[in-house]
């Protein structure tokens, strides 16, 4: 039953997506790629589309993958699943537990979760870097470096660095995605 599976999978993702934005990425990668719904390459494409359209990434990813797997109903199930946990939690906080965050125990639990989430994001970025740019995901794989990809990441990192020095702000994700798209179309095209 694909609709129930979509709902439950994204409910799980929604329930532990601490840290906003990419906080849910490690689990999404595990469940979505693990379920065989998407390849890693397809998932990276979907992230790029989610970054370039309005709305939170987690919701966009849910809608996209849901639609990919089960049409409009699949999209609705996945989106409902990803939103429902935070909806319930915030409702409880708004209704009865306004001071929830002031309890020492809650702060304690959160201060343990926070570094783990940062670690998960960094580890995900690291392993993705190895698999997309060097073709290395598991022990035993031979390194197959993608030279064009490596060059594109170097350009993107350089642009981001210079932009930040000049304007003191991070460049928008869309700008970096557009630059990489042009370089990719040219670089892999010839």
């Amino acid at each position: 039953m694909i609709f129930l599976r979509l709902f439950l999978t994204f409910f799980e993702i929604g329930a532990v997506s601490f840290g906003g934005g990419y906080g849910m990425l490690a689990l999404m990668r595990e469940l979505v790629v693990g379920n065989g719904w998407l390849t890693e390459e397809e998932m990276l494409r979907f992230i790029a589309v989610s970054e370039s359209t309005p709305g939170p990434i987690a919701v966009n990813m849910a809608t996209f993958i849901g639609s990919h797997e089960g049409g409009v109903l699949g999209a609705a199930c996945a989106t409902l699943g990803v939103v429902l946990p935070s909806f319930i939690i915030i409702l409880i906080i708004a209704a009865v537990l306004r001071n929830l965050m002031k309890y020492g125990a809650v702060q304690g639990v959160l201060s343990g979760i926070r570094p783990v989430v940062v670690g998960l994001i960094l580890a995900t970025a690291g392993t993705m870097l190895l698999s997309t740019l060097f073709g290395f995901s598991h022990a035993g794989d031979a390194f197959a470096p993608d030279l064009i990809g490596i060059a594109i990441s170097a350009v993107v990192a350089l642009v981001a660095f210079l932009w930040k020095r000049k304007t003191k702000k991070n460049p928008s994700a869309i700008l970096l995605i557009v630059i990489a798209a042009v370089l990719g179309a040219v670089g892999y095209g010839i």
């Binding site: 799980e12 929604g14 532990v16 997506s17 934005g21 990419y22 689990l27 595990e30 790029a48 989610s50 359209t53 309005p54 709305g55 990434i57 987690a58 919701v59 999209a75 989106t79 939103v83 935070s86 915030i90 409702l91 906080i93 708004a94 209704a95 965050m101 125990a105 702060q107 304690g108 201060s111 343990g112 979760i113 570094p115 783990v116 989430v117 940062v118 670690g119 998960l120 960094l122 580890a123 970025a125 690291g126 870097l129 740019l133 995901s137 598991h138 022990a139 990809g149 490596i150 993107v156 981001a160 928008s172 869309i174 990489a180 798209a181 042009v182 370089l183 990719g184 179309a185 892999y188």
Partner: protein, 192 residues
């Protein structure tokens, strides 16, 4: 009658927020603040900051958390549902339409190559987000240990192709945080 007007108002306000906020995160906070505190005066500044703090510590995107919270404050459970549906609906429609054409679009060689290039940018974006969060993290021994252990375990297990769910890392982190809090309280209690 008045109630349905409030619901519609909530729905429309959050529909607008949902339609014009790209990427999320801190850009989102500025837009929410401008729209909800300054223009609509639905909540006071300090309550808004409370919501941001709560949103940062609970799962889920901040725009959705703010919608649920403010919707509830203004019109109960129905209000929170109206606001939450409003904030999600624009991206749902946009992404659904894109997904219909995406497979045909990606079949073009130029697009395929462009997306291969984009992969590199996306990996950079994830890494940059991680580094930004790393800079904001408190540097006490427990946090640093948890961070290093998480990265080391996850990279090693991933390379060895051993599956260990991300959820366990988060649960274990929460457990460690709780135990540290208990120990600190114990010590604080002994001192008294």
């Amino acid at each position: 009658m008045k109630k349905s007007k409030t619901l519609l108002e909530l729905f429309l306000a959050f529909l607008k927020i949902g339609a014009f906020t790209f990427g999320g995160g801190y850009a989102m906070i500025a837009i929410l603040q401008n729209e909800l505190v300054q223009k609509k005066a639905w909540i006071a500044e300090d309550e808004f900051l409370d919501i941001v703090a709560v949103a940062e510590s609970t799962p889920g995107p901040i725009a959705i958390n703010a919608a649920t919270y403010i919707g509830y404050k203004r019109a109960g459970v129905l209000g929170s549902a109206a606001a939450t549906v409003g904030v999600v609906l624009p991206s749902f429609v946009i992404i659904y339409v894109i997904s219909l054409f995406f497979d045909a679009f990606i079949a073009l060689t130029v697009v395929k190559n462009a997306f291969r290039g984009i992969q590199a940018a996306v990996v950079y974006l994830i890494l940059a987000a991680g580094v930004r969060m790393l800079k904001k993290l408190r540097r006490d021994p427990v946090s640093v240990t948890l961070l290093c252990l998480t990265v080391a375990c996850m990279v090693t297990l991933s390379i060895l192709a051993v599956s260990f769910s991300t959820i366990f890392y988060i649960l274990l982190g929460g457990l460690v945080g709780f135990v540290v809090w208990l120990c600190q309280r114990q010590r604080g209690g002994d001192a008294k």
